[in-house]
């Protein structure tokens, strides 16, 4: 099992979810995040005081999936999250050793 973590632009969230579901990913968890990277932020100016937003709003999706699905999931995210502009985000893949469904106690792939 792998955990796929994707950092994407917030307005892409619905598209990415649909793409992941279409690719066979049934569950995922999303958190609001702020990202720092190449993409430059705006400057807010309040009565002359400037605040440069070096952190920009992002969404962080995390989905634990079986190993075979990883490539397909990455493709799905790439397809849906890309706007060809700097700041579209990243995908990371981490190993997962165990998964448990709280309701039933099922473990492993059946828990996903």
């Amino acid at each position: 099992m792998k955990m796929v973590v994707a950092i994407i632009k917030p307005f892409k969230i619905d598209d990415v979810r649909d793409a992941l579901v279409a690719a066979g990913v049934e569950g995922m968890t999303v958190t609001e995040a702020h990202g720092h990277g190449r993409q430059k932020g705006h400057t807010e100016i309040y009565r002359g005081a400037e605040y440069k937003a070096t952190f920009l709003p992002k969404m962080r999706i995390e989905a634990v999936i079986q190993d075979e699905l990883v490539a397909k999931a990455i493709e799905a995210i790439k397809g849906a999250a890309s706007s060809d502009k700097i700041g579209d985000g990243k995908i990371f893949v981490l190993p997962v050793e165990e998964a448990v469904r709280i309701r039933t106690g099922e473990t492993g792939l059946t828990a996903l």
Partner: protein, 479 residues
């Protein structure tokens, strides 16, 4: 932690006690006896004898008035009752939200609590002694140049039916209504100062400071200008609704506070962006709407003068908001909501002394001047002199008040108010100087009293954690 706050509490209580004692001590400089002759003029706006507006006295202004024995008029009283509600609305929730939206999220509750607590403290102080000091008539006419004495403490001379005059000028409303109207001014003035020391003052210090300031700064100055003292009756400063008494006074006090208290930790490094400009927009709007009570209410009658003051208020405010917006657009490339709101308040401030003296064209020009002037003050002056007037109490109220006071002397139009026939920018300037000196010096002394009793600033950790949790043990749970 617990221990510290108990100590603070003790200080607070000591402060209250101190006030009671101080209030019974005469604070007036002795002055030569010189009677404040009331010059007669026209009166009330009854339905049977419609006032000639040009001759209508503006008792809240400095016009001498004739008939010191007018019967209450139900129409005038109705408008003044409404005005009390409008002016209170300016402070709570108006000013509370205006400031509350501009601070960081961890200080929102503490900031709105300041306006709310000041409303309560000043109400009690006003009832106990400040009304007497400001609007009492000192039996010694020499002392009356400087303060109203203690003859009306606990409102003991306010009656239901006594014919009633202020500074020799009759008013067509019951004294209880007049007392309440003036109380709302006494409330908002110290609350304005909070913008200067936002996000760092101790709550105990706030309570003590505001109590003393209300008694020793606001009340005497109100007496000088409106209550029969030397600035209004003798020198002839034109101040229709409180440009000097309220705004210059609060602005200067704010500057002194900012200088004495020092900068917020992290200024220039941390992100101090306003947490919620919707709150600030609500606040600015309620200040605007409530200011109709403030300025048009200062006619103390429902007449054409009130109408003109309202129109001037509206026009100057709109002009100032647009002027600030455009100035910022040119300089910083974006028109902002905060700029619109700030400009509106700058316009309201500047038109305050002028509202019952100038015509709409004068108001329009005052608005433009205030919008641009306060923008420059809030942005560049502060930066140049490196003080942390956090929410621009001085930048908006001090500078805007000054612009308004001087330009009132330039644009006063006798067709609007005959009391403004004699007008001069120089006289206006003298009025400002008197206020600036007294306000600056006594504010400094009061800060010193606080510094050595309650202490002025919260601890570094408290400032970092945020005043909401550190002082009040409360937090916003919006998510």
């Amino acid at each position: 932690m617990t221990r510290r706050f108990q100590v603070d509490l003790k200080h607070a209580m000591a402060a209250v006690a101190a006030v009671a004692i101080l209030a019974t001590v005469s604070v007036a400089p002795s002055a030569t006896a010189q009677s404040n002759t009331a010059v007669p003029a026209a009166a009330s706006s009854t339905s049977t004898a419609p006032a000639t507006p040009a001759a209508t006295p503006a008792p809240a202004a400095t016009a001498p008035a004739a008939n010191s024995n007018a019967a209450p008029n139900s129409g005038d009283t109705a408008w003044m009752l409404s005005s009390v509600a409008l002016v209170l609305l300016m402070t709570i929730p108006g000013l509370a939200l205006f400031y509350g939206g501009m601070v960081r999220r961890k200080n929102v509750i503490a900031t709105v609590a300041q306006s709310f607590a000041i409303t309560c403290v000043v109400t009690v102080v006003w009832y106990v002694c400040s009304y007497s000091i400001a609007f009492g008539t000192n039996p010694d006419p020499g002392q009356n140049q400087y303060w109203g004495g203690l003859g009306n403490v606990m409102l003991k001379s306010v009656t239901m039916d006594k014919p009633f005059a202020i500074a020799g000028s009759a008013v067509t409303i019951p004294e209880y209504v007049y007392m309440m109207f003036q109380m709302t001014f006494a409330i908002i003035t110290p609350a304005l100062i909070c913008g200067a020391f936002a996000e760092r003052m101790k709550f105990t210090a706030l309570l003590l400071f505001m109590t003393l300031w209300s008694i020793f700064v606001y009340a005497p100055i109100a007496h000088w200008v409106w209550g029969g003292g030397f600035l209004g009756a003798k020198i002839g400063v034109l101040d229709f609704a409180g440009g000097t008494v309220v705004h210059i006074n609060a602005g200067v006090a704010g500057l002194v506070c900012a200088l004495v208290m020092g900068k917020r930790k992290g200024l220039g490094h941390d992100n101090m962006a306003p947490n919620n400009l919707v709150y600030t927009m609500i606040g600015a709007s309620l200040l605007w709407v409530g200011w109709f009570g403030f300025n048009a209410g200062s006619a103390t009658a429902a007449n054409a003068l009130a109408g003109a003051a309202m129109a001037n208020t509206q026009i100057a405010t709109a002009a100032a908001a647009l002027a600030w917006m455009v100035a910022e657009w040119v300089v910083s490339k974006k028109p902002t909501m905060l700029g619109l709101a700030s400009g509106a308040v700058a316009g309201l401030v500047a038109v305050t002394p002028a509202s019952g003296f100038v015509n709409p064209n004068g108001a329009f020009i005052i608005g433009i001047a205030a919008g641009v002037g306060c923008y420059l003050g809030a942005v560049f002056l502060k930066r140049a002199f490196k003080y942390d007037d956090s929410l621009d109490a001085f930048g908006v109220h001090g500078i805007g008040g000054f612009i308004g006071a001087i330009l009132t002397g330039v644009f006063a139009d006798a067709a609007i108010n005959s009391a403004g026939k004699v007008h001069s920018a120089l006289t206006q300037f003298y009025g400002c100087v008197g206020t600036i000196l007294w306000s600056g010096v006594v504010t400094f002394l009061i800060l010193m009293v606080c510094k050595y009793t309650t202490g002025l600033r919260v601890s570094e950790e408290a400032e970092q954690e945020g005043l909401d949790m550190a002082i009040h043990g409360e937090a916003l749970h919006e998510t």
